[in-house]
């Protein structure tokens, strides 16, 4: 597989929650315009690692980090980093669809409106339309843009949330088990979408579902008890794991 430029570099990264070490010395490179999956048993720290990439863990009291995560060469935990700007570059889609109690239009326009000056706000209509199209939800909502987003089904809500993230024009999109609250049909739609989005974006996805990792990702990181056990191309790792633990996990001997 051709390797592209590495967009994200995680170097000796550790995270403490109060005194407990939740992530330990993790190092991995996340290539651009690829989908990288993070898998592992419950509580292994996969969501924590994902949320470290846009510094969402800071919302929790008692979190401290060591090591570095570089986005295009710049340490995001560096002293002069504007965390608001970071989050505009690194978008996030959450486990449960969480549209705001606003209209569909206002949901998608939100990030643009919050920007300091951002792009001209007069082409907001256009931004909303193209983001919704990119998230493959435009046809389903184009006639009800000004109705509450809460009226949509879970799968539609999640795609609106993806459109909302895309509207800010991020470089990296973090997805925290984006389909775990959805039914199989809605899940298939999200996976198709992820597959198309990697043409433009670098995607990191947390999943507890091995088949999903196999379907959507190019690279996979296997985490256990806060440590990175193995990282490599998904095809190779799922067919020919290099580590005994990985093999046991993907064959379902523990979960």
């Amino acid at each position: 597989m051709e390797t592209k430029h590495n967009r994200l570099e995680i170097r000796d990264f550790s995270l403490y929650y109060h005194r407990t070490k939740a992530l330990e010395d993790i190092s991995m490179s996340i290539p651009e315009q690829k989908v990288t999956a993070i898998i592992g048993p419950s509580g292994c720290g996969k969501s924590t690692l994902l949320r470290s990439i846009n510094r969402m863990n800071e919302l929790i009291d008692g979190v401290a980090v060591e090591g570095e995560i570089r986005l295009d060469g710049e340490d995001i935990y560096g002293r002069n980093i504007d965390v608001v700007e970071l989050r505009r570059k690194v978008g996030m889609v959450f486990q449960r669809p969480n549209p705001f109690p606003k209209s569909i239009f206002e949901n998608v326009a939100f990030g643009v409106r919050m920007g300091e000056n951002g792009r001209a706000k007069d082409n907001l209509d256009q931004v909303v339309e193209s983001s919704l199209k990119e998230a493959a939800i435009w046809d389903e909502v184009k006639d009800r843009l000004h109705r509450s987003a809460m009226e949509l089904s879970g799968g539609q809500q999640q795609r609106v949330c993806i459109a909302r993230a895309l509207a800010v024009e991020p470089e990296v999109i973090l997805m925290d088990e984006p389909a775990s609250a959805l039914d199989p049909i809605a899940t298939a739609k999200i996976e198709e979408l992820i597959f198309r989005l990697k043409e433009k974006y670098t995607i990191v996805i947390v999943t507890h579902n091995m088949q999903q990792a196999a379907r959507v990702s190019d690279f996979t990181a296997f985490l256990m008890l806060g440590k990175l056990v193995e990282f490599g191309a998904t095809d190779r790792m799922l067919t020919n794991p290099g580590n005994k633990l990985t093999e046991e996990y993907i064959t379902g001997r523990f979960g």
């Binding site: 846009n54 969402m56 919302l59 009291d61 608001v84 700007e85 989050r87 505009r88 978008g91 996030m92 959450f94 449960r96 969480n98 549209p99 705001f100 109690p101 606003k102 939100f110 990030g111 409106r113 919050m114 920007g115 109705r147 509450s148 987003a149 809460m150 009226e151 949330c161 909302r164 993230a165 800010v168």
Partner: protein
């Protein structure tokens, strides 16, 4: 195993259930008894010819004077309705921004320790007896404001409104804080994840999401303000003037009842008139509660979509 129900198996549960039902109904019964009592004391104005020689419904809405104990008594409700409106409006103009801002601050920005100080602190304000608040407004605040702004009249609608504001801040704060706190954490995460600042997240996402609850809190505060008696009785100067000027003394409906009912001749026109004021107050409070409910439902539908 038999599926036959054993005798008395659910006896305990049905006893408890009946008990709760009785207690709940009692509250409703009491409300209706109060309403019935007020109606009974105020309706003679409409039906009793003897009373009507002294006062009829027409008197309430003609003229602009409330002078129930003069040789030529006048019973116009306009000055005291206006007084209630004026004082309530001033109280809300002061209390709503303070209470809502405090609620937003303590739930969105204050750190753990500070938050645990603010909430009980504000709620402690609710424990101050209104007579103490009224005394403070009468003796301390009125003089202070008069000197500060060079007012002609010490006890006026602004003085009473501010004091009344202090009385309703805890109620509005407490309900608004609950509403803001109940906004799911996921909305805040989504907002911050999209590159909103904490201030934007609080004002553009959390507060709008809590709007149904916050507006219900404001209307609840309004109901309290309309019904509060002691503070306005002491701080407003108690002159039933028909005036839109907030710097003049005023008197509210509640203060009128409180001040006059103790000395009124039982069964007189004046006596029945005071009960009619009570009926008006009852209707106003009821209307505010209904409006609050309608506003809450309307906003919920607009924000969160039609309930399935």
């Amino acid at each position: 195993m038999s599926l036959q129900r054993k005798k008395f198996r659910y006896l305990g549960e049905s006893l408890i259930e009946g008990n709760i039902k009785a207690t709940a109904s009692l509250a409703i019964v009491v409300i209706f008894l109060i309403l019935f009592f007020i109606l009974r004391e105020s309706l003679p104005i409409f039906f009793n010819p003897e009373v009507q020689q002294e006062i009829t419904f027409r008197h309430f809405f003609s003229g602009i004077q409330w002078q129930p104990v003069s040789d030529n008594p006048r019973f116009s409700l306009w000055p005291i309705i206006l007084g209630s409106l004026k004082v309530t409006l001033i109280a809300l103009l002061f209390a709503v921004p303070v209470a809502v801002a405090a609620a937003l601050y303590s739930s969105e920005f204050a750190g753990g320790r500070l938050k645990e100080l603010i909430k009980p602190g504000v709620e402690l304000l609710a424990g101050i007896p209104s007579v103490v608040l009224g005394f403070f407004a009468l003796v301390v605040m009125a003089s202070f404001l008069k000197d500060l702004f060079g007012w002609q009249i010490r006890l006026n609608a602004i003085n009473a409104g501010l004091a009344l504001g202090f009385a309703v801040i805890p109620a509005i704060y407490s309900l608004a804080e609950d509403a803001i706190n109940a906004v799911p954490k996921s909305f805040r995460e989504a907002a911050l994840g999209l590159g909103a600042t904490p201030w934007q997240s609080a004002t553009k996402v959390v507060l709008p999401a809590a709007l149904p609850g916050v507006s219900a809190a404001v209307l609840f505060g309004m109901g309290r303000a309309v019904g509060e008696t002691m503070v306005v009785l002491m701080a407003a100067g108690n002159a039933p003037l028909f005036s839109f000027n907030p710097l003049e003394s005023t008197r509210t409906m509640t203060a009128t009842i409180a001040a006059e009912l103790g000395e009124v001749v039982f069964g007189s026109g004046h006596y029945h008139a005071l009960f009619f004021i009570g009926l008006v107050l009852f209707a106003v409070t009821f209307a505010i509660n209904l409006a609050s409910h309608a506003l809450f439902e309307g906003l919920m539908t607009r924000l969160y979509g039609a309930r399935k």
